[in-house]
């Protein structure tokens, strides 16, 4: 039963208010992309044991999408942040480094 703070409305949202939306920071590949690129974009999701960046929607609240940095082994939440960014903000990354010095995610370290 997670609690995630919605970075838009500031509510510490109960899991029942939220809808999970899968991996964050996907880069969209459309027409013109290779089969490989398109396949990976749609199906090759990060599935780490540990630090993960993911999308959530405050569905039964303000309706906004946001991102969360969370550990899939302990469910620790390192922070939530705007969905309007292509990579995790530095302060979130720093916070994770403090607690999980050797973390990696995709090519983020």
């Amino acid at each position: 039963m997670l609690i995630l703070e919605c970075p838009y409305c500031g509510v510490k949202a109960e899991e029942t208010e939220l809808a999970a939306g899968g991996e964050a920071h996907l880069k969209r590949f459309g027409p013109g992309s290779s089969d490989e690129e398109f396949h990976d974009y749609l199906f090759m999701r990060e599935n780490p044991k540990g630090v993960h960046f993911e999308r959530w929607r405050h569905a039964n609240g303000c309706g906004k999408w946001f991102h969360a940095a969370r550990c899939t082994m302990t469910l620790e939440v390192f922070g939530t942040y705007s969905a309007q960014t292509t990579e995790p903000p530095k302060e979130i990354q720093d916070k994770i480094s403090e607690k999980r010095p050797n973390w990696t995610w995709r090519d983020v370290k």
Binding site: L2, R45, L75
Partner: protein
């Protein structure tokens, strides 16, 4: 292997059961095997079993980081059915179901396969059409199912409330030869049979690395040392992403929690398995008398084997509504497992980018019922390089856009 029988039990009783031998040996790993299977769950053990039984390949090790049968094999709701819509699914699940029918005899181990029948309730017009379609498809697939009317549903499930004020029961898809089995016994029975064929089941042996040369697998590193092999089968629900990463490739799966619960045991009151998809709950009664209950998956990546309680609430609400007497039972225990879900929610039985590494994964919420069929197909694929049952479950399908989608209810009526 000493055979089990009523006679053997009686003989042993007279000497206080001191003569029973180990159900499976507990060997140290050898330096090399023809085939290594990673994962001693139902699917892994069944793969090993059919490698030996169908192809005579017995120089096999099954490596298990914990205890055999301790993953999803030991924590599912034990439903066995094959009333799937799409041909590839129906084929493999029906193969599995038919192998379940004779599994106790084949393994000389009573896995308590109980062909008590499975009903999937239709509670919307949309579901009625969906299940009628499935019944037609099943008839051509050689899967015996039938559409039944509400009165027949009530006959089969006396505790059901047909006239729920919100979602009255409009009928159901009935598979008389579906049922349940004792999940632990499936793993134990296969383990005993594999061990008897000379295969090594090595528990508490975690794979820490996968070694390959020139794009071809040569062995694995484990907590019990390095072991070489010609072929490697990865059959590790909940850990397949982790393992494939060691081998240098990725799989199109995500791992999420699936929960289940049981009530306290009561005297027999429901002889069939009932699934109610509109309201999200399903239930059967175990031989011990517990009502065994399941629902849907949680929505986020999770390796904790714990789920969120609101899903339990949703499932129990659905069952209180469908079977009013459930309201006066008590939840004895809830638990969770980690299931791997693919892009079309159908499994992978597939070659991989590394030669001679094969993967069996992504069974999502439906793995137990597939165990013998999955093992059969995986063994055939590993032994011969081709299996008709596994053909469509290749991981290549995502590239081609050739999905095996069982959720025909994806669209919604006007």
């Amino acid at each position: 292997m000493k055979r089990y029988s009523a006679f053997a039990v009686a003989r042993e009783a007279l000497r206080y059961h001191t003569g029973w031998e180990r159900a499976w040996r507990s060997p140290e790993p050898k330096r090399r095997y023809d085939v290594i299977i990673v994962g001693a769950g139902g699917h892994g053990l069944a793969t090993a079993y059919f490698l030996g039984k169908n192809f005579g390949i017995t120089n096999v090790a099954v490596l298990e980081k914990g205890w055999l049968g301790g993953g999803n094999t030991g924590r599912n709701t034990t439903i066995i059915r094959s009333n799937y819509l799409q041909d590839p699914s129906a084929a493999i699940y029906e193969k599995a179901r038919s192998l379940y029918e004779t599994m106790s005899q084949d393994l000389n181990y009573n896995v308590m396969f109980s062909p008590r029948g499975v009903i999937m309730l239709a509670q919307t017009e949309h579901e009625v059409r969906g299940y009628k379609r499935t019944a037609h498809a099943n008839a051509l697939q050689g899967v015996q199912t039938e559409w039944i009317e509400p009165a027949r549903v009530k006959e089969l499930v006396p505790i059901i409330n047909l006239e729920g004020p919100r979602y009255p029961v409009l009928g159901g898809l009935w598979q008389e030869r579906g049922g349940t089995a004792r999940h632990d016994a499936v793993a134990w029975g296969y383990a005993r049979a594999c061990s008897a064929m000379g295969m090594d089941i090595i528990q508490k042996c975690e794979v820490t690395g996968v070694r390959s040369e020139n794009g071809r697998v040569v062995g694995v590193d484990t907590t019990k040392g390095a072991i070489d092999c010609d072929k490697l089968g990865m059959v590790v629900a909940g850990n397949c992403s982790h393992l494939s990463e060691m081998a240098g490739f990725r799989l199109p799966v995500e791992s999420v929690a699936l929960q289940a619960l049981v009530s306290e045991p009561i005297k027999p009151c429901m002889d069939v398995v009932v699934m109610a998809n509109t309201v999200h709950g399903y239930m059967s009664q175990s031989d011990k008398g517990e009502m065994v209950i399941g629902g849907g998956t949680d929505g986020f990546n999770n390796y904790t084997q714990r789920g969120s309680f609101h899903h339990i609430e949703e499932t129990v609400r659905a069952l209180n509504e469908t079977f009013p007497m459930v309201s006066r039972l008590k939840m004895l225990r809830q638990w969770g497992g980690i299931v791997d879900v693919t892009g079309d929610r159908s499994p992978l039985i597939s070659k991989t980018p590394v030669d001679n590494i094969f993967v069996n994964a992504g069974w999502g919420t439906g793995g137990f019922k597939a165990i013998p069929g999955s093992g059969w197909a995986m063994a055939e694929l590993m032994a011969t390089g081709h299996s008709p049952l596994a053909e469509e479950f290749s991981m290549m399908r995502f590239k081609e856009g050739k999905f095996i989608d069982e959720s025909v209810a994806a669209g919604v009526a006007h």
